[in-house]
Subunit: 221 residues, 2 copies
């Protein structure tokens, strides 16, 4: 084969105030890096997949047990140097899931802290893919509601702020954060979080109404 086309997915979630990436084990003895834990990916199957996004969805479902997360195309990495088998192109997506979904993922999926994964060697050019995904998430986080996809079905403002802090890597002013969230109007109140030894917090959920991004297009809120 002269050239092959794959899709890889950088699956990200948040656990214990840390960014985690989902890895699967390579189980085909005829392929490179047998047994190694890597980003889920697979060949495009023109018969089954109407487009590359469908490949990403199929890979997530079959290899990671994850359904319909937030999924966005990241970039395409290509060339003769990235895979020992020859010239290849990987249309790379990144996906965001919340902790519930990540907890329900298959056995075959293992979650590791992004920092640790980046510190160790990774096969192919997967380190580059992972860094690009994290950079994209970071950059969009600073001006959008993207991190909502990392949140459980309901959450307090403090929890949301904490997630922004983890992704952006720094403290945020509670006052300013609350202001922005309320102005931007991408959450709605759903109740009260009673039961702890302090003032109860209001619970919110993401508003359905606001589609955040158009595929491939950069779109400021």
């Amino acid at each position: 084969m002269l050239l092959f086309l794959t899709v890889d997915v950088v699956l990200l979630t948040l656990k214990q105030d840390q960014l985690y990436v989902g890895l699967v084990q390579r189980l085909n003895k005829d392929e490179p890096f047998y047994g190694v834990w890597t980003l889920p990916g697979g060949f495009v199957r023109p018969q089954e997949d109407n487009e590359a996004r469908d490949t990403a969805i199929r890979v997530l479902r079959t290899k990671a047990g994850v359904e319909s997360p937030y999924l966005e195309q990241l970039a395409t990495f290509s060339g003769n140097a990235r895979d020992p088998r020859g010239w290849s192109a990987s249309i790379t997506y990144y996906a965001l899931v919340n902790e519930q979904i990540s907890a329900n993922s298959q056995e075959r999926l293992r979650w590791e802290p992004v920092d640790e994964v980046l510190a160790a060697p990774m096969p192919f050019d997967h380190k580059e893919l992972l860094m690009a995904a994290v950079a994209r998430l970071r950059s969009k986080t600073s001006y959008s509601s993207l991190p909502l996809h990392l949140m459980p079905s309901s959450f307090t403002l403090s929890e949301l702020r904490r997630v922004y802090e983890v992704v952006l890597g720094g403290k945020l002013e509670p006052r300013g954060f609350a202001r922005r969230v309320m102005e931007q109007d991408f959450v709605e109140e759903v109740g009260i979080d009673k039961g702890e030894a302090h003032r109860p917090a209001r619970l919110f959920r993401a508003k359905k109404s606001a589609p955040l991004y158009i595929e491939g297009t950069f779109c400021v809120l």
Copy 2:
């Protein structure tokens, strides 16, 4: 062939205060849309092209006569619906050139106003590609020095502002514009533009020092 991999390039320039896109005529009788003017593109040649970016550069050089413009990967468009020949993926780039370069381009390249091209039918999903490129340019323009690549080797502040206005589609305050440009420090003075019936303007050029983007990564100035 089950699946084929191409690279298309949306080549943009500015003429007479309007965005123009570069089109080439399809000259292969065995391919669809023979004779039609379309975005320059071509098959990836694994033997010659170390990566997809090299394909883009080769396409630009051989089909459009354009050398080393600003070139950035846009997105990959794929699927069985976009090309009558079957499942295809187009790794799409966009390129920015200034008026000098666009004037030196080959015979085979024809420049058309983006508005007019979008108003008429386009082959494949090229309308989508073109719209994505323009959207990307617009969006980056609002917070970066990207439009410098559309400028001649030296220019006045007014000319630069005019380009921003054309790309963004609206008037900009001369005062605020000058302030931002000077603060951001991405131009340097190279002389004076004498010879007209009014106060001469200072001439600037883009500073070499400032690489604007890392491929595939979003990077705020």
